[in-house]
């Protein structure tokens, strides 16, 4: 990746190209069937989850996993999931939503702002600073998590929501995407015209350029949204108090208790399964609604090397 970062970029506007591509009129049934088999592999665990969410804990063990039991207890399970331990589950979902939205909007804004700055302004130290940030793209977030924990423990930030949100605000890969994007998506002539009209640089950014940076912004937003929504390691180490848990750590804690499985936890497994199903619905809905952004934004990053 780095070798490319120095070579000038071309092509790769993220706007989808006109679909002028010659499409073969013939469809291949063999290929369609082969892909259908692959699709079954990717979807059957989700099918299992849907089926399992309709079962009581007892039926989860005693009936065949890939089909419904006689006793349809989905609605009871949903009720139990939301009311268990004083409504903990709903709190975890709201925490996840809060962490994910604040982190992703923050990370995408910082990356967009800085990506545009690096792409469109010449200033002292620019290459050095940019190189420094891009050089850390490969530092994995979990290798950074324990150091961040140690630092946050020093300044009493652990076991607060900030401990999960702050580290998610910095996305070197997001900056990389926006830097690439801003080089291609903003035209110099538009900027010059706005300057001649006497507009300030910040005004130009918010009134003129932000609109053309929007697809890149949304892509980075989606990436960081999924990353924080699904994050497990960081909240696991940062948070002790169950009230601050995001849904991943919460479900994991429930499942640990369900494996113990006796006494008051004897029927917890049904809640773990139903809670798992409910927790993935918002992201799956977002994926379906925002499909085109994935593709357009990703093409900017993928072809640039």
């Amino acid at each position: 990746m780095t070798t490319t970062l120095t070579t000038p970029a071309h092509a790769a506007t993220a706007t989808p190209r006109a679909r002028r591509r010659r499409r073969a009129r013939r469809h291949s049934n063999v290929l369609t069937l082969a892909m259908a088999a692959l699709l079954v592999y990717f979807l059957f665990p989700l099918f299992w989850l849907v089926v399992a969410a309709t079962k009581t804990t007892g039926d989860l063990f005693s009936t065949f996993g890939l089909w419904f039991a006689d006793d349809f207890s989905l609605f009871r399970n949903i009720h139990d999931t939301f009311t268990r331990d004083g409504g903990q589950y709903l709190r975890w979902m709201l925490n996840t939503l809060g962490y994910a939205v604040i982190s992703s909007v923050g990370a995408a804004s910082l990356a967009t702002f800085a990506g545009y700055g690096f792409a469109r302004y010449v200033f002292r130290g620019r290459s050095l600073l940019l190189g420094l940030v891009l050089g850390t793209i490969m530092v994995p977030t979990t290798a950074l998590a324990i150091p961040t924990y140690l630092l946050f423990a020093k300044v009493s930030l652990v076991n607060t929501p900030w401990a999960v949100i702050l580290p998610s605000l910095v996305s070197p890969f997001g900056l990389f995407l926006m830097w690439v994007y801003a080089r291609d998506a903003v035209s110099d002539s538009v900027l010059e015209a706005a300057r001649i009209d006497g507009a300030g640089e910040l005004a130009i950014f918010f009134r003129v350029t932000l609109r053309s940076l929007m697809p890149g912004f949304v892509t980075v937003l989606l990436f960081t949204l999924v990353a924080t929504w699904n994050n497990y390691f960081l909240p696991l180490i940062m948070l002790n108090d169950e009230r601050y848990y995001p849904i991943t750590v919460g479900l994991s804690a429930w499942s640990a208790r369900a494996v113990g499985g006796s006494g008051s936890n004897a029927d917890l497994l049904a809640c773990v399964v139903t809670g798992s199903l409910l927790s993935i619905i918002p992201l799956i809905a977002a994926f379906i609604l925002l499909q085109r952004y994935w593709q357009s934004g990703l093409s900017a990053g993928a072809v640039k090397e």
Partner: protein
């Protein structure tokens, strides 16, 4: 490109990011680096230890086992996953498929599932007592292999990670396929090349940079494997110990045995290994293609 007056505005745009980068990225790394040069002693408290923690780390059999295990995991799982992703991306892009949009979304969907939920699901599917696979075997009169046993655990983990991320890689590859200039296809069609030939001779070579990107992401992902083994540990405590992957080990050092300084050194070293491996992969695979 810019007027002189506009120059200082550059700082306005990059400063918020750089400030956060400094405080939340470089500072933690620096602090952990600092801590890694100390150690706790029963007598005398925390003392400067030089490189002792690092010397201990590179000869720590638990850490080395973990690193070898994820290296093996990487060598087996990543090629399979990228092959699945490549085939799926080419198939969806080929125009030969009915319902291509359905396939694209369906294969990508597992990426929306948190690794915690994915592991919970697969854990139950694998279960030797109540999992559907074992149940099927029971009914049909054969004994299903224990997927959570010692011999198959790494494969079981590979399957979960492949399931989670094949679609994500497919989307990256598919996005790259959509940017190949269409005149190449027109020229190929004039020359009488069919879709298979186009895929082999034009599309796969054009995917090289995107495949490289996927490979780098996979290096990073494999070496920080945590959630999947952490959750499967409950179902198979005798197979997965607290040092099964380097990340699990770092976690248990920091939070269970409370060896903060050593945990800092291990995290630091782990990050370094990943960065180095990534650059090696990058260097090796870009050599020869650049003229």
């Amino acid at each position: 490109m810019t007027t002189r007056a506009a120059r200082n505005s550059g700082y306005v745009f990059v400063t918020p990011f750089l400030a956060c980068f400094l405080l939340l990225f470089l500072l933690p790394l620096g602090y952990a680096g600092y801590l890694s040069f100390f150690k706790d002693q029963l007598v005398g408290g925390t003392v400067f230890a030089g490189l002792d923690n690092y010397v201990r780390a590179v000869s720590d059999p638990q850490l080395l086992d973990g690193v070898l295990r994820v290296a093996l995991f990487f060598a087996v799982q990543v090629p399979v996953m990228l092959l699945v992703a490549l085939v799926a991306a080419l198939a969806i892009d080929s125009g030969l498929l009915r319902f291509a949009r359905v396939f694209r979304l369906g294969v990508f969907l597992p990426y929306a599932v948190p690794s915690v939920v994915a592991t919970l699901m697969w854990g139950y599917l694998y279960g030797p007592d109540f999992g559907p696979l074992a149940q099927l075997g029971d009914r049909l009169g054969f004994e299903a292999p224990n997927l959570l046993g010692n011999g198959l655990m790494l494969s079981a983990l590979s399957n979960i990670v492949t399931w989670e991320f094949a679609g994500y890689n497919m989307i990256i590859l598919y996005a790259a396929l959509r940017t190949i200039p269409t005149d190449l296809f027109e020229a190929a069609a004039v020359d009488g090349a069919g879709p298979w030939r186009v895929a082999w001779s034009i599309k796969i070579p054009a995917l090289r940079p995107a495949l490289l990107l996927c490979l780098i992401f996979s290096v990073i992902g494999s070496f920080q494997l945590f959630a999947e083994p952490d959750l499967l540990q409950r179902l198979a405590p005798s197979v997965i110990d607290s040092a099964y992957t380097p990340n699990l080990y770092a976690y248990s050092l920091a939070f269970i045995s409370q060896e903060t300084n050593y945990a800092a050194a291990v995290s630091f070293l782990l990050g370094l290994v990943i960065v180095v491996v990534s650059y090696v992969v990058l260097y090796v695979s870009s050599r020869g293609t650049r003229r």
